[in-house]
Subunit: 718 residues, 2 copies
């Protein structure tokens, strides 16, 4: 394994990256650290970059970029030498939710640890710090070359990656992972420090951290204080270990200085972080399926499910706490699906891809060598896409049917039946196991589990043709009965709804499952079979794409001849951007800054626009704040920039040309949701909370002057 | 009577008008022609005015301003020497609606008269041209001085005005009217030419003329082609006469040149026309009643009524034609009420008025003379306002109960009973009269008349206290019965629902009405009594305000010491403005121009965003149009300016500094609906259709090149 330096990267790629067009062009691209180094730094300097290449990121010594860490599925950054981490409120939402009770409701009221002793272990929060990156492409490709078919190719890839990871993790205190880039053209190994003792330091009240709620989500203008502070702890020698007394604040090698001056329109900003997934190099056929089938169905089903959950959550404070996190996450996905449906159509992505494919085809036809090399490539890709999308509907419904969030009853059922299959027939079944299934299957059954199951089964009943599935018959798909009646029938017929029935199945083991005529058992077996088939199928497609996708990317690069960045894959990236508004529609321009005045204008006193009294009181004196911006005439709240971001960039530090933290990325605008399939200079905008709004909260709203001092910014009114 | 010249106007007013602040200040004010002459023309010239004072308007010779005429409740302008008139589509809507049938649907499909012979008499359209204005203040004040109480003051005012009008109308071909300014401080007599032969020349399809419908109404951004052309005709000698063969196009003394170049951001524009009514000088007490009682009730009732009408209109093409005009007009009033509710609160008008009144009170207290003169004035005004608003709810419900649009059944009922009272007992009742009542009371009875009546009676049942009313008992207000059951009871008990019953009442005359125990007869008598009481009451208040309001305005002027414009009263006014966007809320800016591209973006193929195919086809070639604006990169559709407008300004010509027509005012933005109670530099914006969009329609969409030639603008692609 060679350290990752450009001398080992593909020469064609390196050359492409050096083209000044990469910087003169719109701010498209989620660039790898090494690609940033290869950019035209004179052009970057002209835009406002004041760091040197090595200060920004050095392959061996790291740099400013190294302060960007991963937390859960989000990004975050160190902002002090004592392991203080800032990310989005919505990234810490689950942890704060879990720490809250109706009596001690930190989610609702916010939380400030007045000293380090008061910082509370945050359940589920783990911080990953990238220490080093290596290019392991040759070794992975060598393993893949030995495979004869797609499934084997997938398996050999997994195996060699497991090997590489295991070897890497021999290094002390290291969590490794290998990521594939450019559809398998490259593989990189990440050496990461995994910090599991993460504590909650400061969370604003939900009414600040989620101001605007689902109404404003994916929209501009925003006034959301979407930030929360954590602190990473480690053993006194600095090595990572789980929470225990005696742990001390972790001392990161790199942390960001925090700017008290903020940004102005047209300023250079860079968004650092771990974007999750984009699909910029899909074919027109694949995108058409997303637009026509996948996202519309996802939108419709989630909309129904959220209605069920919201109706129940409204019934009590406890129900509200029980489902807040689920509703928030599903609503986010729902609006994302709506944005995809809107944006793919509005941006005519399919039509653009079709035009590009025609041009590509013409280019291929233009030379004997290209015909030989790429003549069948597009047809192969389209054929693979078409084959994969034969089961789009089934795959989606199945994934919702087996998720504990969207279909807890069916998920519990499949878990129960899978457990039963693994039991020795006639064995003694532990009391606790029976009780666990009983409790989870009974919780909010009538209000939540049953209506969610009805939504899922209704879609399952509607599947047919290529989408048909095992055990379909128990749903009586051809009988003209409303699905809620079918559900009643299933529940009345099945013995699994009683403790005795569940116990009998668990005691009977595999034979009892296989011989059962119980419709819920048959349904669960059918769903499990389909799930396993789906997994196998996906591996085969993955194996096929490792080979085909790699050739497709190679051809794209030969044809386009411009700089290339790989699709997002949850690895460390940089987006270079400007603070910039946009025109969402004719006659309307979104300006890049919002203000506390705008926040107050939205205040209605009712969720999601219920600004806390402390904020409203502090607002009356905000001209005296250190974070008042005279040019804007207010304390700024959020800003727009034309960064290239996606899910996973939540919490991403946004830095200025000096490498100082000026904001936290937390969203994209609605017009940019479909940006995952293609960046658009006119509409691709990411939304950040202005760091001055964060600091104003700590200064004046729910004070934490000790944290301001720790970050080295003014801690009192000027 | 002296001709209206400033030498006869109040010296204090003239002095105030000359203050340069009138032009340095924001573009507030609906100025009288003579006030415009008194402005600082050097400052106007610096803003882009290229006309001289006399070219703009001369008290005896008229000028550019004289091309602005009145049509129905709207404004319009002459745009050719042959009497071609352009106004808004929504101003000609009723006429085009009446000319349409399901088979020949000009409202839906549009209309172009290919030559003058094809121009069609437009029912109800009358054009008024102001020829001369005289100040008749002294004569009216002299008459008023003889009155002893408010009602007499009202009556003497009416009488002297009738006298003045009658004398004025001795001049041939003249329709006079006298308007009161500054709450009765001044009275002006208008000599007008009344043109009754008005013919439809060109109407775009409703899908253009009303593009965006009620969704976009009162909003920005707009893409509405809100224009229609008519032509005034007269006798060959130029004298006005009703439609007849042999009439020829009317030759106006003044008409506007049409600009093919349009306007750009920050350009000076002037809006000419006949604004209907503003209430800028109301007290805080009066505005609080509008905000808290009047507009919320109006909004609630209209919302219910529109639902009834829309449900019925959706049932057939004929129903659509029958109610299109009513729904459009009620929906407009409904959204206006919503805007009032929003804007009065948002702009804190009551609070601002209260502050001003405190300052005024302090000013009064500051001198012995002022205390003597104005000491009790504000208290008197508040007392009068409070007295008047004792019956706000009743007056509003009564006005809706007696309107043929909102309550056709009750209106028909009151007309029937009023007719019966005037009949000689035992007389022969004409068959046609009985039939007329029968037909009108039966039309869409179940679908429209009955539900509308139920809405009104439900409100009437809820009135009590100071609002109680005659014949209330027949509605059983104290019985816990839903009002629709009460209505069923009324209809079952009453004999007026049968022809025989109606005939018997008409034959019985006044004694039959007075002796009747029929609940509908009693209800109708009660409503008629209330209506008459309301009229009498209003006259008394009007008489009181003639005296008190005049003193109030005098005091305001003494206190404020700045220039003053009178409230709108449907007389000829000028608003001086700039093409200018605004910030409707934090983070959002509305830009002042929209384009055909934006129109196409809104197109869904369904009402109200169903752009005709001809338009969409023409749009593909619009870069070749003479009306393509290279600076905007498109054919513009609408623009914003900060004009001071209100209802009645619909169709107002918007002219540039050369006096050329650049647009037709057709709306205000939602944030400016409450502008009737106070202008606001940040939010007061009027919406105009860009004349180039009008001309592009005539050039390329539904061509009428003969009209373009008549207006002297390019008639083909360049």
């Amino acid at each position: 394994m060679t350290p990752f330096l450009l001398r080992t990267a593909l020469p064609a790629l390196a050359a492409a990256l050096c083209l000044p067009s990469a910087l003169g062009a719109p701010d498209e691209g989620q660039w790898l650290p090494q690609q940033i180094r290869a950019m035209n730094w004179a052009a970057l300097k002209a835009r406002g970059m004041q760091l040197t290449k090595d200060e920004f990121w050095h392959p061996e010594r790291g740099g400013v970029l190294s302060a960007a860490v991963q937390i859960g599925g989000c990004s975050a950054s160190f902002v002090s030498s004592d392991g203080l981490v800032v990310t989005n409120h919505h990234c810490g939402f689950g942890a704060v939710n879990q720490l809250s009770t109706p009596e001690q409701n930190y989610l609702r009221d916010g939380f400030v640890a007045q000293d380090r002793g008061a910082e509370m272990p945050a359940p589920g929060m783990v911080v990953y710090v990238v220490r080093r990156i290596e290019n392991v492409t040759e070794r992975v490709h060598a393993a893949q070359a030995e495979a004869d078919d797609p499934l084997e190719r997938w398996a050999r890839t997994e195996a060699v990656i497991d090997e590489i990871v295991a070897e890497g993790e021999k290094e002390p205190n290291t969590a490794c992972h290998v990521a594939s880039f450019f559809e398998g053209r490259e593989y990189h190994l990440y050496y990461r420090t995994r910090l599991t003792d993460v504590r909650l330091v400061y969370a604003p009240p939900r009414a600040v951290g989620e101001y605007g709620g689902e109404v404003d989500n994916w929209e501009w203008p925003r006034h959301t204080g979407d930030f929360t502070f954590f602190r990473a702890y480690a053993a006194p020698d600095g090595s990572p270990r789980d929470y225990q007394e005696g742990n001390v604040p972790y001392r990161p090698d790199h942390w960001l200085r925090v700017s008290a001056d903020g940004v102005q329109q047209d300023d250079l900003v860079m968004i650092l972080g771990y974007p999750g997934r984009t699909e910029r190099y899909l074919s027109s056929v694949a995108v058409a399926d997303r637009e026509g089938v996948y996202y519309p169905l996802r939108l419709a089903m989630l909309t129904e499910m959220i209605e069920v959950l919201e109706a129940h959550a409204a019934t009590s404070d406890q129900a509200q706490l029980d489902y807040a996190s689920t509703i928030k996450s599903l609503a986010n996905v729902q609006k994302n699906a709506a944005g995809m449906v809107w944006g793919l159509e509005r941006n005519a992505v399919v039509q653009r891809k079709q035009r590009e494919e025609q041009q590509f085809t013409a280019w291929v036809a233009g030379s004997e060598e290209r015909r030989a090399r790429y003549g069948s490539l597009l047809a192969e890709l389209h054929a693979l896409d078409r084959e994969e999308q034969e089961t789009t509907r089934k795959d989606l419904v199945l994934s919702l049917a087996l998720s504990s969030r969207t279909s807890p009853f069916l998920r519990g059922l499949v878990d129960l039946v899978s457990t039963a299959i693994r039991m020795e027939p006639g064995s003694d079944v532990p009391e606790s196991l029976v009780r666990r299934f009983g409790e989870s299957m009974a919780k909010d059954f009538e209000a939540v589990q049953k209506p969610l199951m009805t939504i899922v089964l209704d879609e399952l009943r509607g599947l047919d043709g290529a989408d048909t599935f095992e055990a379909r018959a128990v749903l009586h798909p051809d009988v003209k009965l409303p699905t809620d009646r079918v559900v009643v029938g299933l529940l009345e017929t099945s013995k699994l709804t009683t403790p005795a029935g569940r116990l009998a199945l668990l005691r009977g083991g595999a034979p009892a499952v296989r011989g059962s005529e119980d419709p819920l058992v048959k349904l669960a077996v059918g769903l499990a079979i389909e799930r396993d088939a789906l997994v196998a199928r996906n591996r085969r497609f993955e194996g096929a794409r490792i080979e085909l996708g790699r050739r497709w990317i190679e051809a794209q690069q030969a044809w386009r001849g411009t700089s290339f960045y790989p699709d997002a894959n949850s690895t460390l990236r940089v987006s270079i951007a400007s603070v910039k508004g946009y025109q969402p529609r004719d006659g309307v321009r979104y300006v890049p800054h919002t203000t506390v005045a705008g926040l107050l204008q939205k205040h209605t006193g009712a969720e999601p626009f219920d600004a806390p009294e402390a904020l409203r009181t502090a607002a009356t004196e905000r001209r005296q704040s250190a974070y008042f911006d005279a040019r804007i005439g207010d304390v700024p709240t959020c800003f727009l920039s034309d960064g290239d971001t996606t899910g996973g960039n939540s919490g991403s530090p946004v830095i200025n040309g000096k490498g100082e933290l000026v904001g936290l990325n937390f969203d994209r605008v609605f017009e940019n949701v479909s940006g995952d399939f293609g960046w658009n200079a006119d509409r691709s905008r990411n939304v950040s909370v202005d760091i001055r709004f964060v600091l104003w909260n700590l200064e004046s709203v729910m004070p934490a002057h000790h944290l301001l001092r720790e970050m080295g910014v003014p801690a009192g009114a000027r």
